[in-house]
């Protein structure tokens, strides 16, 4: 049996195959430090697919769609495992929806979405590397331009 590198949790969510460098970024968007739940974080674990990977285990946590969308932006290779009584009952890769609503800020200061109280809307034009087009100003952003709300 494969030796566990990070201890198991009873019920909750495991975010696996995070690009190692992005592990803390993923942890920070999930607000786990505020919720007082048991969290196990591993970094620089060896992975056949990624070389080095990160893993985050959160007890009693069900991710919202918005959180999943954010993880997909930061760590596009991540997989989610839903754990019930120490067993993985569901396993799926994260994936970006066709449109991100209220997740990413439009980088164009002259965009209406930065002036009116409306949720931002960004169409996913390309998944790898991620390229987004603003529904309003139609500007395209990728890489460093993509800033989470």
């Amino acid at each position: 049996m494969k030796q566990l590198q990070v201890s198991a949790i009873k019920d909750g969510t495991v975010i696996d195959h995070i690009d190692s460098k992005s592990t803390f970024k993923v942890a920070s968007i999930l607000n786990i430090h505020e919720e007082g739940k048991l969290v196990l974080v591993g970094m620089n674990l060896s992975s056949r697919r990624l070389g080095k990977k990160g893993i985050i285990k959160i007890e009693d946590k069900v991710l919202t769609q918005e959180e999943v969308n954010k993880i997909a932006l930061i760590a596009p290779n991540a997989t989610l495992n839903i754990i019930k009584d120490f067993e993985a009952v569901e396993k799926r890769p994260v994936s970006l929806p066709e449109e991100l609503i209220g997740v990413v800020k439009c980088f164009n200061p002259n965009c209406i979405s930065n002036h009116e109280r409306i949720p931002t809307r960004l169409k996913v034009v390309k998944k790898t590397p991620v390229r987004l087009r603003c529904h309003y100003c139609e500007r395209v952003m990728e890489g460093e331009d993509i800033e989470l709300l």
Partner: protein, 309 residues
């Protein structure tokens, strides 16, 4: 079957090739006939949060020639919007006064938000550096009139390709047909990378050039644009750049251009086109300006559902 009733005219990206051709055919019909009662009883509200007298007059004239009424606010400063009312609120109120809204705004995406908010059709008359779709339709109409077809043309773009929204939109539209494109500019004013990538993904053949002379003989059409001084931090740099691309009758006649070569320009011009060009058979930019009326008539009639082809 193309049906544009209630369609918003926000971005050239929203139009299929069939819809584009439908609008151009409708514009040709509008140019050939007058329909003085077609939009009788309909009210157009023009909302210009950024002034553009020509564009506004063109819309108002088109509406009145079709028998419709026009309302507008006197000046942006007079509305409560500037005092902090949201665009969403303002547009909902104006929806109650009119059948169709033409909106120009200094913020990019404002017309899209307006269209998402209300149910009557919204026409974008320019949003910042983003889109000005009715200009694109009249550019396409002018090329169609001058060349007889849009298919497979070799089209040059000259001037400010970086910030020129009319260039980006026209290139996007011509990619449907598909046309080969030549982008001629100073290195600091090249087409944005994402625009070029998109053209490549759509299978368009294009190339970038510093000099107009080296490709002039290959072109069917040249789309020339103004270089705006405010784009340059250094006025010396501006002086250098603007002198590089100055078209004149003498220059064109000295080059081996095709006999039916045509030059378009969205106007106003500054220095990039000498007045000596105006009298040559190459110049179609005044016809282009005149096309604004039939094209806007066609768009108003189509989205108000008053006419079908």
């Amino acid at each position: 079957m193309v049906n544009l009733k209630n369609k918003d005219i926000i971005s050239i990206r929203d139009f299929t090739i069939e819809e584009i051709l439908y609008i151009l055919n409708m514009a040709a019909d509008m140019e050939g006939h007058s329909y003085p009662e077609l939009l009788k009883g309909k009210v157009l509200a023009t909302l210009f949060f950024e002034p553009s007298t020509r564009t506004r007059m063109s819309f108002e004239s088109a509406m009145k020639l079709l028998g419709g009424e026009v309302i507008s606010f006197a000046e942006p400063g007079a509305t409560s919007l500037v005092k902090g009312e949201s665009l969403k609120d303002a547009i909902k109120i104006i929806e109650g006064y009119s059948d169709i809204i033409v909106l120009r705004h200094f913020l990019e995406g404002a017309p899209r938000l307006a269209a998402d908010t209300i149910s009557i059709p919204v026409i974008n008359a320019g949003d910042g550096t983003n889109q000005h779709p009715t200009q694109t339709f009249l550019d396409l109409y002018t090329i169609l009139r001058a060349k007889g077809s849009l298919e497979g043309l070799s089209v040059g773009f000259l001037g400010d390709l970086k910030y020129g929204r009319t260039v980006h939109s026209l290139a996007y539209a011509l990619a449907h047909f598909p046309c080969q494109m030549f982008f001629v500019s100073h290195p600091s004013l090249r087409m944005p990378v994402d625009q070029l990538e998109e053209l490549k993904e759509r299978g368009v053949k294009y190339s970038e050039h510093d000099s107009f002379e080296e490709i002039s003989h290959r072109l069917d059409v040249l789309y020339c644009t103004r270089i705006q001084q405010e784009r340059f931090a250094d006025p010396v740099e501006y002086e250098k750049v603007k002198g590089t691309y100055r078209l004149s009758k003498g220059l064109i006649e000295g080059l081996k251009v095709k006999p039916d070569f045509k030059i378009l320009h969205p106007l106003p011009r500054v220095d990039e086109m000498d007045e000596s060009l105006d009298e040559t058979p190459y110049a179609v930019y005044f016809q282009q300006a005149k096309s604004g009326i039939p094209v806007r008539k066609a768009l108003l009639a189509a989205v108000l559902g008053a006419k079908e082809l």
